[in-house]
C-alpha cells in the first residue's frame, strides 16, 4: 500500500463538524480515516496499518483494493454507467447478474429485483409479500412476523421487523401489524423455561398464528443464522419446521441472507445449509464485496407469478439494476468462484474457530460459535448461568494493541473477515483476541484454569454428566497414574510426546492422542484393565469388532461400565416411550459381539425376556464380499426361519436388529404380519439406513411400530439412539452420551473437523473409569451437526459406510 498520506488532522476536524456517523456517541471525538486497503489490510491517514477482521460491516469478501474490480467498473462506466431499469428498460449486466444469481440460488428462486442495499431489499420483500396476498384476494393478510434479536436494516419496514428495541425507541410509531417472536438460542436455555428451544419457538409460532389468525398474516421474516445478534445458528430442525408450519397456513417466508449469502458460511446461501426453501431471499453485502452499494431480492416462482402480473410490481429504486453495480457484482462472483472462496471460508473459518474455541475454557467466555467466517464469542459473567458480560471494551483494546479490527454487539465479540484471509492472518486475529480476553479473565480469576481432579466424577451417572473438562481431568489422572492406569496405557504413555495429566484439558486436546485401536488386535485384554480396580477378581467380558478389516480388535468390558451404559440406554428408551415389561427379540450377532449381549441386558433391565437369533457377521460379509450371493440368501433364510419360530410362538414387544434384516422381515409376508401384530418397537443398528427406507418402514411396512435407530461402536463400547421427532426428510441423527462418548467428524485427508452440515469420517472418543479410547476412526461417514440442546458435544447424521477401510472394501451384508 503506497498511497500518499493526507492531512489526517484536518480531515478529522472536518469530519467532526460535517458528518453524522451511525452508532457514534456524541462525546466520542476519535476518528479513523481509512485511506487504503489491500486484501485484509487497511491503512489509515496516519499511516497505521490494520488487519480487517470484520470485512467492514460483514462484507469485503474478495478483499480490499482489487484492481480487477475497479477496471470492470471503469470499463462499464465508459460504456454505459447507468440507465433506469423501470418499465421496459434494462441492461446487459443486470440481465447477466440476475441469471447468475438464480443459477446459484436455492430452489425455487425464479427472479431478481435489484436494490441499492439490504435494507431496500427487505422493504421490497415485505411489500411484495403483502401485494401477493392482496392480488390473490386476501387483502387482510398484512401482519408481519419477525423475531427478537433479528436485524433487517433501518428503513421503516426493516426497522419495524428488526427485533432490537434500540432501533425503535424514539423513532415511533413503527410500522403497525408486526409481531416479534422468540428465536431459538440453545446457549440460553433460560429463555425457554426448560422447554426445548425449537419446541418452544414452534409452539409460540403456532399460538401466534392462532391468536392473530392465519388469514391476517402475510409473511414471516428472519435471518437463517442470527448475525448481528451474535452468530447464532438454530437447531437443524427449526427452519424446516417453521417453513412447514407457515406453508400450511399460506404464510410466506423471507430469509434475510444479507450477511449469510455469498460464501460467508461456506455456502452460496445459508438456506442450502439449513435445508429450507423460502419464498424470498434478501441479499446485499457479499454481492459486490462492497465495491458498489447494491442489494438483490430473490423471489420464488409462485410469488413472481402473482406480483409480476397485471400492472406489475409498482415501485422501484432509482439505482435498481445499476449497470456498473451489476457488472461489478458479476465480476465479484466470478472472483469468488475462481479463487474458491467458499471453501476458503470454511478452511480459514475452521482454522480460526478452532483456536478461538479454546477461549471457552476462560471463565468469561460463554460460548464460541463459528460458521465459516462468521464467528461470535459470547462473553458471560458466569458461563454456567450465561449472565452477560459487556463486550464493548474488546474491539478498541484489540485494535489498539494489535491493529486488528473486530466488532461487538452488547455481549458478543464478532469476527467476520474478508474470505481471502490467510491462515497466518487468522492466527494473528486469534492471538490478539486471545491475548485480550485471557488477560481480562486472569484478572477476574473467577474459576481455576483447569478443574480440580475429583476422581468420583468418573462414577457420575451418564444421564447426569459432568463437564468435559471435569471428566477429562479425572480420567487422565486415573488412566495415567502408575497406581491406577492400565498396563496398556502406562506403556503407551512412554511414547507419547505430551503428558496427558497436564496437557489434556479440553475435548480438542484429545486429538493429541494417536488412534490406538489397531493395537487392540494383539493386546492381552488383562492389560486393558486399569490397575486401580485392584487385584480382586473382576467379571470381565470381552467384545470384538466385526473382524472384516483384519484380525478382530478386542475391548475389555468391566461391570461398572456395563451398569452405567445400560442404565443410560434404559433411560433413553424410557424417554422414547419404549414400554417396560416387553420381551425383546435380538436378531444379530452374539458370540464375541456386543450386539446380542446388549439386547439381552436391556431386556432384563426393562423387565422383559430376551430372545436371541444369532448370526455370524463375519461369514455373512465374507459371502457378500466374494459374490456368493446364493449362500448369503440361504443363510438369510436360515436366520428368518429361526425368527419365525420365535415370532409365531412367543410374545415379542421389541425387536432389535439390523436394517438389512429388517428389510428381509419386511419381504417375508408372514413375518411382516407377525411383527405388525405383536411388535411395538423396532430398534435398528449395526448398519446404515437411508431416508427413503426409513420412511417406507414408518409409513408403509411397519406403521404401528416405533422405529428407533441406534448407532454404536464396539471399539468405544457404546452407542447412541436416533434423535426424537425427526421429520421424514431429516436423516437419522444421533447424539452421544456426552462427554463419556464424544464424536468428531473429520476430513479424512486432513484430519480436520469439518464444518457443521458437512460430511466427513466419524471419530469417536470414550472416556470413563474402565475405558479410555480416544480418536477411534470409525468406518463410517456422517454429517456433522450440533448436539441436541442440553446434551453438549457434536451429533452425527446420515451415517454411511466408507467404501474402503484399512485397504479393505467395506461390505454391508446382513449385518
Amino acid at each position: 500500500m503506497t498511497a500518499p498520506l493526507v492531512d489526517a488532522d484536518a480531515l478529522v476536524k472536518t469530519d467532526r463538524s460535517r458528518l453524522i456517523h451511525p452508532h457514534l456517541p456524541g462525546d466520542v471525538t476519535d476518528r479513523i480515516v481509512m485511506v487504503e486497503g489491500s486484501g485484509c489490510r487497511l491503512r489509515d491517514a496516519h499511516g497505521r496499518e490494520y488487519l480487517d477482521a470484520t470485512g467492514g460491516l460483514l462484507l469485503a469478501h474478495v478483499g480490499h483494493g482489487r484492481r480487477d474490480l475497479a477496471e470492470v467498473a471503469a470499463g462499464q462506466m465508459t460504456k454505459l454507467e447507468y440507465y433506469s431499469s423501470f418499465h421496459e428498460f434494462t441492461n446487459e449486466p443486470s440481465i447477466r447478474l440476475a441469471e447468475k444469481l438464480i443459477d446459484l440460488a436455492p430452489s425455487p428462486m425464479e427472479r431478481v429485483y435489484f436494490t441499492s442495499g439490504g435494507g431496500e431489499a427487505v422493504d421490497a420483500a415485505l411489500r411484495m409479500a403483502r401485494l401477493y396476498h392482496h392480488r390473490r384476494g386476501e387483502p387482510e393478510r398484512t401482519w408481519i412476523l419477525a423475531r427478537n434479536f433479528g436485524y433487517h436494516g433501518v428503513s421503516y419496514g426493516g426497522a419495524a421487523a428488526t427485533g432490537m428495541p434500540m432501533f425503535h425507541q424514539g423513532f415511533g410509531p413503527m410500522l403497525p401489524n408486526v409481531r416479534h417472536l422468540t428465536p431459538p438460542m440453545p446457549f440460553h436455555p433460560e429463555m425457554y423455561g426448560g422447554e426445548d428451544p425449537t419446541e418452544f419457538c414452534l409452539r409460540e409460532l403456532r399460538e401466534t398464528i392462532e391468536e392473530i389468525g392465519a388469514d391476517r398474516i402475510a409473511v414471516m421474516i428472519g435471518e437463517p443464522i442470527l448475525g448481528v445478534a451474535g452468530v447464532i445458528e438454530p437447531p437443524s430442525d427449526y427452519w424446516p419446521r417453521v417453513r412447514e408450519l407457515l406453508a400450511s397456513h399460506g404464510i410466506l417466508l423471507i430469509l434475510d441472507e444479507v450477511i449469510t449469502a455469498f460464501g460467508r458460511t461456506g455456502h452460496w446461501f445459508a438456506a442450502e445449509r439449513l435445508g429450507v426453501a423460502p419464498d424470498f431471499v434478501v441479499t446485499a453485502k457479499g454481492l459486490t464485496s462492497g465495491y458498489f452499494p447494491m442489494g438483490a431480492l430473490l423471489v420464488a416462482d409462485r410469488v413472481v407469478d402473482v406480483v409480476a402480473r397485471d400492472e406489475g410490481f409498482i415501485g422501484g429504486y432509482t439505482y435498481g439494476g445499476h449497470a456498473t453495480g451489476c457488472a461489478v457484482a458479476l465480476a465479484n462472483l466470478e472472483i469468488m468462484e475462481r479463487e474458491n472462496l467458499l471453501a476458503a471460508a470454511v478452511d480459514v473459518g475452521d482454522h480460526l474457530g478452532a483456536q478461538l474455541r479454546r477461549l471457552e475454557e476462560l471463565p468469561i467466555v460463554g460460548q464460541v460459535r463459528q460458521i465459516g467466517l462468521m464467528i461470535g464469542i459470547e462473553l458471560a459473567q458466569d458461563p454456567d448461568t450465561g449472565e452477560p458480560l459487556s463486550a464493548g471494551w474488546v474491539p478498541p483494546l484489540v485494535r489498539e494493541r494489535s491493529g486488528i479490527i473486530v466488532r461487538n454487539n452488547p455481549n458478543t465479540v464478532l469476527v467476520s473477515p474478508p474470505l481471502v484471509m490467510s491462515h497466518d492472518e487468522a492466527d494473528q486475529v486469534a492471538a490478539a483476541v486471545t491475548d485480550v480476553l485471557t488477560e481480562y479473565a486472569t484478572r477476574k480469576r473467577k474459576r481455576p484454569a483447569a478443574p480440580a481432579v475429583v476422581l468420583p466424577v468418573l462414577d457420575t451417572p451418564w444421564d447426569r454428566p459432568p463437564s468435559m473438562p471435569e471428566l477429562l481431568a479425572a480420567a487422565m489422572e486415573w488412566h495415567f497414574d502408575p497406581k491406577t492406569g492400565s498396563r496398556f496405557w502406562l506403556e503407551r504413555a512412554k511414547s507419547l510426546d505430551f503428558d496427558p495429566r497436564k496437557d489434556v484439558r479440553t475435548e480438542a486436546d484429545l486429538e493429541l492422542f494417536p488412534n490406538v485401536v489397531d493395537e487392540l488386535r494383539d493386546v492381552r485384554v488383562e492389560d486393558l484393565v486399569p490397575r486401580g480396580y485392584g487385584d480382586r477378581r473382576i467379571a470381565l467380558d470381552v467384545y470384538e469388532s466385526g473382524g472384516t478389516t483384519g484380525a478382530p480388535k478386542r475391548i475389555a468390558w468391566l461391570p461398572d461400565l456395563h451398569d452405567q451404559l445400560n442404565s443410560w440406554h434404559s433411560q433413553v428408551l424410557d424417554d422414547r416411550g419404549v414400554p417396560h415389561g416387553a420381551n425383546w427379540l435380538t436378531i444379530g450377532p452374539s458370540g464375541p459381539h456386543m450386539f446380542g449381549p446388549m439386547g439381552r441386558t436391556l431386556a432384563h433391565r426393562r423387565g422383559g425376556i430376551p430372545f436371541t437369533v444369532d448370526l455370524d457377521p463375519r461369514w455373512a460379509k465374507k459371502c457378500a464380499a466374494e459374490g456368493r450371493s446364493e449362500e448369503s440368501r440361504r443363510y438369510l433364510a436360515h436366520v428368518l426361519d429361526q425368527v419365525g419360530e420365535i415370532l409365531r410362538s412367543q410374545d415379542v414387544g421389541v425387536v432389535f436388529t439390523t436394517p438389512p434384516l429388517l428389510e428381509a422381515l419386511a419381504g417375508h409376508e408372514e413375518l411382516a404380519e407377525l411383527v405388525n401384530r405383536k411388535v411395538r418397537t423396532l430398534i435398528w443398528g449395526g448398519a446404515s439406513m437411508d431416508l427413503d427406507t426409513r420412511t417406507l418402514f414408518r409409513k408403509e411396512v411397519f406403521p404401528g411400530a416405533q422405529l428407533l435407530g441406534f448407532y454404536g461402536s464396539t471399539m468405544v463400547g457404546a452407542g447412541m439412539y436416533e434423535r426424537a421427532g425427526l421429520a421424514d426428510d431429516e436423516p437419522p441423527t444421533f447424539d452421544p452420551p456426552y462427554p463419556f462418548v464424544s464424536l468428531r467428524v473429520v476430513d479424512p485427508d486432513t484430519g480436520k473437523t469439518v464444518p457443521y452440515g458437512e460430511r466427513g469420517q466419524v471419530v469417536m472418543n470414550h472416556i470413563s473409569r474402565s475405558m479410555l479410547i480416544p480418536n477411534n476412526l470409525e468406518r463410517d461417514t456422517a454429517v456433522r451437526l450440533p448436539g441436541a440442546p442440553g446434551l453438549g458435544g457434536d451429533a452425527v447424521a446420515d451415517i454411511r459406510p466408507v467404501p474402503t477401510f484399512g485397504g479393505t472394501a467395506v461390505v454391508e451384508g446382513v449385518y
Binding site: 441469471e99 444469481l101 440460488a105 430452489s107 425464479e110 427472479r111 431416508l691 427413503d692 417406507l696 411396512v701
Partner: protein
Amino acid sequence: MPGSPAPLHLDALGPSGPYRAQAREVVHDVTGRPVAELSMVPRLYVQRGLAALRRAETLPPDERVPALAEAGRLFATATLNGMTAGQYEHAVARVSGLPITMVRESTAGIAAGLAGAYGFAGQARPRGSRDTSNGAGTAVWIRRGDVLAVLAAGNHPGIHAQWAEALALGYRVAVRPSRREPLSAHRLVTALHEAGFGTDRVVLLPTDHGVADDLVGGADLAVVYGGDDVVDKYRSSTAVLPHGPGRAKILITADTDFTRHLDTIVDSVSREAGAACVNATAVFVEGDPAPVAEALADRLAGLPALPPEDDRAVLPVRGLDAARNLEKFVHSEAAGARAWLGGDTIVAELGDGAAALRPAVFQLDRADAPQARLEMPFPCVWVAPWSRADGLAPLRDTIVLTALTSDRDLVGRLLDEPTVRNLHVGDHPTHVLVPGLPHDGYLGEFLMRSKTFTDAAPAAP
C-alpha cells in the same frame, strides 16, 4: 425468464403410483445443465415393488394387446409427466447427445413396436404351440415366470420397444432406467399406466448398481444391458439375458468392388450417430484395406458437427470433458494403427460446454488385432485386412455381419456360425432391422417355453 426453469421430476413409478424419493440424482444435459431430478429408490422399495408385481393378475390378452397399442400412441403423441412428445424428444437429444432426428425415429419405432408387440413376440412361437389348450394333445406356449426385470441402457431410446414384448406375453415388468437417460423409460411406463396397464403390472424402479442386483435376483427372469463385464457376469445364468456390445462387422471379399457398396459401408458406420450396437465397428477387407479406409475417411469427414437438437445433426454429442476422455481413450487404443480420420482429434467443441464426436477411421495391420473388437459410442471404425487363412475367427462374436461377397460357400459357413447372430449379404447396412425378424434372437425364445398339455377329462355338459 432469467435462470433455469425448475427441474423436471422423474419420480419412481411404483405399484402405488409415482414415488418421489428423498434420494434424487440430477440428470444433466450434454452441457452439464440440470434437466431433471431422478428419484432413486432403496432396496426395500424394489423388494415391495417386485412383491406387488408378483401379486398382480396378468392383463388378459384381449385387453393387453390394445392397451399396448394405446400406450404406443400416447408415447408418441401425448403430454405425459408435463412433457409433450416434442419436449420429450428435445430433452432426450439434449441429455443423450443423440441427434434429434434419430430420437424422433425412435419415438415412432417405439410406438410401432408397442402396437405390434404381440405379433412380434409371436414370431418366436414354436410351430404347433398355442397360448391355450383346445383339449386335444397340444403344445402350449407358457411363460417361464411371472416377473421380468429389465436393466435398461441409455445409449439409444429404441431399446425400450423390445421389453414391451414381455408385456405382450403377459409378464409383469420392473424396469430400471438408465441413470444417464431415464426420460424414455419413464415416459414409456407412464404411457403404459395411462393406457390401462395397472401400476402393479409395470413399474419403473430407478436404483443404484447395488440395488439393481437385488432387482435381477428378485425377478423370475431379467434382461440386462451393459458391457462385457455384464455379459460375463450373467453368461452362465439361464434366468438372465445379457445384451452386451454388438460389435457389428462388415466383410468385403476380393471378388467385390467395394466402391459400389460404399454407401452401405458408410451408412453402417455412421447412421444412428454411430452409437447403436448395430453400427459397424470393424470392416474386414480381403486384400489391401487402405483404399477402403481412405474412401470411408473421405466420406465420413464431411459429417457436420452440430448440437443434438439441430435437425441436421448426425453425430453424437457429449460434455466436453467426457468427449476429451473418449478421445484420449481412443487415441491410446489406436497406438500403432494408421489414422485416416480422427487421428488429431475427434472432439468438435460446440461452444456451450458440449462437443460433437467426429468420426474416426483407423487401419489395422492384421485381422486379429484387438482394436477390431473395440466398440465406441460414435462413428469409429477399424479397417483390417482379412484373408482366407484368418478364417471366421475375426468375424465371430458379432450381433450383425454384412458380407459383401459372391462366395456362397463362405456365406453358408457364416450362416452356420452361431456367434454371428444376424447375417446380411449384399447391400444391407448393419443397422437396418427387418420388422419381424430377430434382432438378437427373439425375446420370446428367452421368455417362453412349450409344454405338452392333453386333457382327457369329459367336456362339461
